[in-house]
Symmetry: C2
């Protein structure tokens, strides 16, 4: 189980590899939010999302012999690129299993990072069986996207950096809003803050209709989403919180917040205009909560993650249209 | 005259105020350019451009009594916001003189940073006379946008950071491509590199048809642009290199490079897709040179500035359209 010692060890392994992202701010965002807003821009991380941290943490934690045989992951998105880059940096094989109808750009980007992309037919093939067969045949290690202790530890390094920067700002108490899918980033940050910044409280933020974590936290039991597609915020849609991440979130996190797609798009437009950052819809939900759900937040300051910036031009143009 | 001692002193005055921007990179950009590309994203600086450094440097260098009377600047763009924020931070008056037909958003943004905006009618009023009258009546100090030693010193802090990061990367020789208007940033960086990284060479990059600095460097004498408007890259259009900046550039810089508007827009699209950064057209010319003018550059690596990100949504949407 992930603990602060594992997070600190992950930080040491990531040193010199993961980007140390800053906390950014703008008086214009403060004005909209009615409090100070500090933004942790993980869209500037390698591969454009925080997922590189978890991928690099997990790959670097393997014993060298196991690692040399290679790794495998199921993902058509940010986790795929994070694991692929980490494997490439270690010079070990990486297989990414994606549905054959995944966007061409995502397939190409993952291949460009040196990974072998194995496509399957969603209608007729069982991706888990395909993954198991490949793993068995080649001795590949599966890197799960969130319910994996070393992945959570890697994402937790975001929390260590937030704690350090908050201390430098003299910020002792604040909500830390985290874009939440399976809860790897949220639980990792929560563990880091528990150890390093007791006055900071992690809170998951999700899109409306995909608020499995908020409902799970409220009820005390893991709840599922009723649907799994049809959201612009696809990067952070998962069936339910993880078996490892949920107990951590349940113990440490404040209540979840949900935002609409329109709010996420407007937050993207504000990040463009005021921070000069590209956020993906799922990566903008925490900023949307800070800007448009201020009555659900406590304190004079709030910290938000922008978890990723991997958005296609058409969606980004839609968001910018809201400024005109 | 600005020298390395003044730049180091400016760095000390900016410490804890200006953002320490990183050097970013992407394997996808390296692929296009055919060499390693390192990007200095000053679009992430306060007010969205490097101009805050020069503004803060100049305002902080004034003796307290003079500063308390306030400052004045002519600008409808990035320099206005940089000076306004610096003055606001010192709690001193700031007057920005803008044409009455400047975009509403720029006027509003400058006012939101606490400045008093004095509008003049381009057709019937003399802005210099207006500025002189205001300065005389209120004892305001004029902060010029580039031909001012303490402004050049502030911009030079970008060069100190590039030198430090290049050293950490083991990068001993490279062209450093700088988006160039009046030459404040280019000359400041050139002075810093002369002292701190002798193998790095600053080179100005300008839009086609506004290549006054390239022509001035080639001829050895200050040359003017034949027109001053009609470029998407308006943030870096000036009549000619400065009387202070040109001798520095002439002594230290490599040949200028010019890029087309279309190349600048395509560079913006790549910065969006690969770096998750918002660049303005003028702020993207150096990246455009790295990506599309590789035959004019020497070495296995190149460093480029993104000088600013203050672009309207419509122009950004146009740039993104080039990706589709």
């Amino acid at each position: 189980m992930t603990d602060i010692t594992m997070i600190r060890a992950a930080q040491a392994r990531l040193d010199g590899h993961a980007r140390r992202t800053p906390l950014l701010s703008s008086p214009f965002l403060d004005e909209i939010a009615g409090r100070h807003v500090y933004v942790k821009p993980e869209c500037l991380q390698h591969t454009g999302s925080f997922k590189y941290r978890g991928g690099r943490s997990a790959v670097s934690a393997l014993d060298p012999e196991t690692r040399a045989r290679g790794v495998i992951a199921f993902s058509s998105g940010n986790h795929a690129q994070g694991v692929a880059l980490a494997a490439q940096q270690f010079g070990v094989p990486c297989v990414i299993i994606m549905p054959a109808d995944a966007p061409r750009l995502k397939i190409d980007n993952t291949r460009a990072l040196g990974a072998e992309v194995a496509l399957y037919d969603r209608a007729h093939e069982d991706r888990d069986a395909l993954g198991a067969a490949l793993s068995a045949a080649r001795g590949l290690t599966l890197i799960k996207p969130f319910d994996e202790p070393q992945v959570i530890a890697g994402q937790g390094t975001v929390g260590l950096e937030i704690a350090e920067d908050a201390r430098a700002l003299g910020l002792e108490t604040a909500d830390v809003l985290v874009c939440c899918g399976g809860g790897g980033l949220t639980s990792g940050i929560a563990l880091a803050l528990e150890a390093e910044a007791k006055g900071l409280r992690a809170r998951p933020v999700e899109p409306e209709d995909f608020d499995d974590t908020a409902r799970s936290l409220a009820s005390g039991e893991i709840q599922r989403n009723t649907r799994l597609s049809g959201s612009l915020c696809d990067a952070i849609i998962t069936p339910q919180p993880g078996d490892l991440t949920f107990p951590i979130m349940s113990r440490l996190c404040g209540p979840g917040i949900t935002v609409s797609e329109d709010e996420a798009l407007r937050a993207m437009a504000h990040a463009f205009q005021r921070l000069k950052l590209v956020a993906e819809p799922g990566g903008a939900v925490a900023l949307a909560a800070a800007l448009f759900h201020g009555d659900e937040i406590e304190g004079d300051a709030v910290i938000v993650t922008i978890s990723g910036g991997n958005v296609d031009a058409a969606t980004f143009r839609t968001a910018l249209g809201l400024l005109e």
